[in-house]
């Protein structure tokens, strides 16, 4: 997030798109609900009628995968009507002419044809967002989990810059992180191309800095593989072994049959997890890890806030905190890591990571966390990003053209399947499906079907339905609801009984390599 969570209290308008906020980030959702009561506006762009729709001043239900067209259309109107922030565009941005030329193609009529959003609604939305004093864009996986995920994000950024809705309190672009520490994992360099704090592996000075700190020579300066690349490489036999920590690709990655094939092609698979997940069951070696309550450390949340977490209970059996397991493995392969505690590791992070330099354990003990960038021990942390300049200097408009989904419905596979999570379960259910009350609340996999489609196919609420894509087939209970538009079905990836990723398409965004979980072609029938 470029903003802080507290800044929701002062915004005049929220543009929420591709985020079922009350279900997935309920405390942020509650900020939006409270803001609505004090008079803020809510502009929702989402194909599904999510609970926030009940609070929206305007809800645009675009066809799945048409986000670039919709946002370009808004920019087209904003430029046409001359309500963009000329001062911001002149002083802080570059590439406006290119943006203008791309946006000019996305007239309301053109966008209506692509997205299904009536032209007059798009015009209303564009004006609402542009003329708001302080507007925040809020998005989540509905924007990113597309073959055009990077384009979608760039287009959100273009819209915020065009209207000057960034770099001031309660104005910004806010991807809500879907896991408690995914921000922290990325910050710490759990990515193929960077060390901690996004320092590039290919930069010779960075390479030297880490070699000196770790007392080694020849750190690899080539960018490694993303998860999705690794699975392709494993299938081809180019990767011989994988060491997977706290991830369950057998349930969470697209096209499960292909993932299973990839993992089976490995010579050696290590899985480090707190439970014997579907993926751990395939491993040659399982290393039992301690859960969040059984270890000490820090998490970095969606607003870049680093917070300390203390050990509350003892680990069962032989389970150990991940850092201890990694140190043990490292020692066995000949590179002893002599860290004595998470606090000790934090000292190294402070030394090697400029944005974390001032986030010391000692300070964290005394407060409710610090937000990076925090370059020194006197620095209070940073509530919102890009205040006077962008990290690269001028902000560059990166206009994108609309591209359709990788797999669109046809005569045989005549529905779009879109996937996500529900309120009560988290990801592949490894933890939440073992939690009595959460499992009681949502014990069975459901597929949302629009009433019109249900009628046509003879499906009643609670019937078993079969959903089939080119890659596989699952059976689940139908929930007949207007939450999904016609010709769209929605299901989740929480249930091993109906693993929805058997169906999803392993087509990736070319840059981020994120799979298109949000749209693939399926057919639906009632089970007899």
């Amino acid at each position: 997030m470029t903003n802080s969570i507290n800044e929701f209290e002062d915004a005049d308008l929220f543009l929420v798109t591709g985020s079922n906020t009350t279900a997935q980030h309920p405390l942020i959702g509650s900020r939006i609900i409270n803001a609505k009561e004090r008079g803020a506006k809510l502009l929702l762009i989402d194909p599904r009628e999510i609970p926030l729709a009940g609070f929206a001043d305007l809800h645009l239900r675009q066809n799945i995968g048409t986000d670039v067209a919709v946002l370009n259309g808004m920019m087209n109107i904003i430029i046409e009507e001359d309500i963009y922030d000329k001062k911001f565009v002149k002083e802080r941005a570059e590439g406006f002419e290119q943006l203008k030329s791309v946006a000019s193609k996305y007239t309301p009529r053109v966008v209506e044809k692509i997205s299904g959003i009536p032209a007059h609604d798009l015009e209303k939305a564009a004006r609402m967002y542009a003329i708001a004093d302080k507007a925040m864009i809020v998005y989540a996986m509905g924007i990113t989990q597309h073959t055009t995920g990077t384009d979608n994000v760039k287009t959100c950024a273009n819209l915020a810059m065009l209207t000057g809705h960034i770099g001031r309190p309660s104005t910004g672009v806010n991807p809500l992180r879907g896991q408690n520490n995914v921000q922290g994992a990325c910050d710490m360099g759990a990515l193929p191309n960077v060390y901690s704090g996004y320092q590039p592996v290919a930069d010779p000075a960075v390479k030297k800095k880490f070699e000196d700190a770790w007392g080694v020579q020849g750190l690899d300066d080539k960018v490694g593989l993303t998860i999705t690349d690794m699975m392709v490489a494993a299938r081809k036999g180019e990767i011989k072994s994988l060491y997977i920590m706290g991830e369950n690709p057998m349930m969470s990655d697209p096209d499960t049959s292909d993932i299973e094939h990839a993992l089976s092609s490995l010579e050696f698979l290590v899985v480090q997890d707190i439970f014997l997940s579907e993926t751990a069951a395939k491993a040659d070696v399982v290393l039992p890890a301690a859960s969040f309550a059984e270890k000490e450390g820090t998490y970095t949340n969606t607003e870049r806030r680093v917070q300390i977490s203390k050990k509350a209970v003892a680990s069962p059996g032989l389970a150990k905190p991940d850092w201890e397991i990694i140190c043990d493995v490292s020692r066995l392969v000949g590179y002893p890591m002599n860290y004595s505690s998470p606090a000790d590791i934090m000292k190294e992070i402070n030394t090697l990571t400029p944005s974390y330099a001032g986030i010391t354990y000692k300070r964290l003990e005394m407060c409710h966390g610090l937000q990076w960038p925090c370059p020194n021990e006197e620095h209070p942390g940073t509530a919102y990003l890009h205040r006077d300049r962008f990290s690269k200097g001028q902000g560059t408009f990166l206009p994108c053209e609309f591209k359709p989904l990788a797999e669109v419905p046809d005569e045989e596979y005549d529905f779009l399947l879109t996937t996500g999570r529900i309120y009560y379960h988290y990801h592949t259910g490894t933890m939440t499906r073992r939690t009595s009350i959460l499992e009681r609340e949502a014990p069975v996999p459901l597929v949302e079907v629009n009433p019109d489609d249900a009628k046509r196919l003879g499906i009643r609420n609670g019937d078993q339905v079969e959903v089939t894509s080119r890659r596989g087939s699952i059976k689940a209970m139908a929930e007949v609801t207007t939450r999904v538009p016609k010709r769209v079905v929605f299901s989740t990836f929480h249930y091993y009984e109906a693993p929805v990723n058997l169906l999803t398409n392993a087509a990736f965004d070319p840059v981020a390599k994120i799979p298109e979980y949000k749209g693939c072609a399926v057919k639906v029938r009632r089970c007899i």
């Binding site: 405390l27 509650s30 609900i33 009940g54 309120y423 009595s436 009350i437």
Partner: protein, 338 residues
């Protein structure tokens, strides 16, 4: 009556720790307050209204009730001699109500064993701890009437201590306590109490809301309004001193081995009332919120409320912690709004 110099308090509590597990208000290094195992360095008297309740001592968030090993079962009842130091009067009433409910017609042995081994020390409130306190409305404060073993009045440099039981008397039998003339102490306590009562305003809307609920004239739209914005976290039930609902579940660690446990539950969850057939008598969030608030303000049990107003003890925590402002105060005000 007895008095204790404030400077001697830590020493007294420290001496108690030799025989008891003492839970006392503690200030964490990050500034948060909670009831925790007494430690001299973190002990504080400036603790307002900590979020975690005394009920958690007697009804822990999760608790194993029996273990099964090689198909043989063993009941687990855990309790130890505990002193709860410094709970508020509203929480004392919450404990009285909960204890009545948990023992009235069937003894919940896991709860009552812990309760029997606990010594309760209440700290009377000199005024509201924050703007959501309304114990004067619900007859549950600012000064506890009974249930306590000891009742402390903070008089500035010293405490006046009222004894509520033999167990309390025993605690005062040794240590730097001095006697005070009962009449003089009584006068000081009266002044303390009068000021506290004056400073905690009575919320008439609560009475009026109860009347409208009783007469069946509360507008149903109130529940629709709150139901629409409730995020179903269940937090109001978890911070409520009189909410004691739990769910029972089994956890199998290996074939023939495992535990049966219970965990806090909340009537705000759909599955709480869903029947085996799938039918749910409380099918919407609006109906579930209605059930919760009517349980506090209308359908309470006369014995359980222990001579207070109703099933709500006026601590205001639901109003403090609900992310979308659905607490007893907000609900009562919405019900009486024309």
């Amino acid at each position: 009556m007895k008095t204790l110099a404030k400077k001697d308090l830590k020493g007294v509590i420290k001496a108690w720790t030799e025989k008891y597990h003492v839970l006392a208000p503690s200030r964490m290094t990050n500034g948060d307050c909670m009831f925790d195992t007494f430690q001299e360095e973190s002990f504080t008297l400036d603790y307002k209204k900590p979020p975690l309740l005394p009920k958690a001592v007697f009804l822990p968030h999760t608790e194993v009730v029996f273990e099964v090993e090689e198909n043989k079962f063993r009941e687990v009842i855990s309790a130890r001699n505990t002193i709860l130091f410094g709970i508020r009067s509203c929480d004392m009433m919450g404990l009285l109500q909960s204890t009545s409910f948990m023992t009235r017609d069937r003894d919940d042995i896991y709860y009552s064993t812990k309760k029997e081994r606990a010594t309760i020390i209440v700290m009377a409130c000199p005024g509201p701890q924050n703007e959501t306190c309304f114990c004067t409305t619900t007859f549950s404060g600012p000064v506890a009437q009974r249930g306590f073993d000891l009742l402390f009045f903070d008089m500035g440099n010293n405490f006046i201590i009222e004894t509520g039981s033999d167990r309390g008397k025993e605690l005062l039998s040794s240590g730097p306590f001095t006697d005070m003339d009962d009449n003089l102490a009584g006068e000081k306590i009266k002044t303390f109490k009068d000021k506290a009562v004056r400073d905690i305003p009575v919320v008439d809307e609560v009475y009026e809301a109860m009347r409208r609920l009783k007469d069946g004239i509360a507008d149903e739209k109130v529940w629709e309004y709150f139901g629409r914005k409730c995020i179903v976290c269940g937090g109001c039930a978890f911070v409520c001193p009189t909410c004691t609902c739990f769910n029972v579940y089994d956890h199998e660690s290996a074939p023939g081995n495992g535990v049966r446990a219970r965990a806090w539950d909340a009537c705000l969850y759909g599955g709480f009332t869903r029947e085996a057939s799938g039918h749910n008598p409380r099918p919407t969030q609006a109906s579930r919120l209605k059930r919760r608030h009517e349980h506090k303000l209308l359908y309470y049990n006369e014995t359980d409320i222990q001579e207070s107003l109703c099933g709500c003890v006026g601590c205001g925590r639901c109003s403090d912690y609900c992310p979308v402002h659905i607490g007893t105060l907000e609900v009562a005000r919405e019900i009486v709004k024309e």
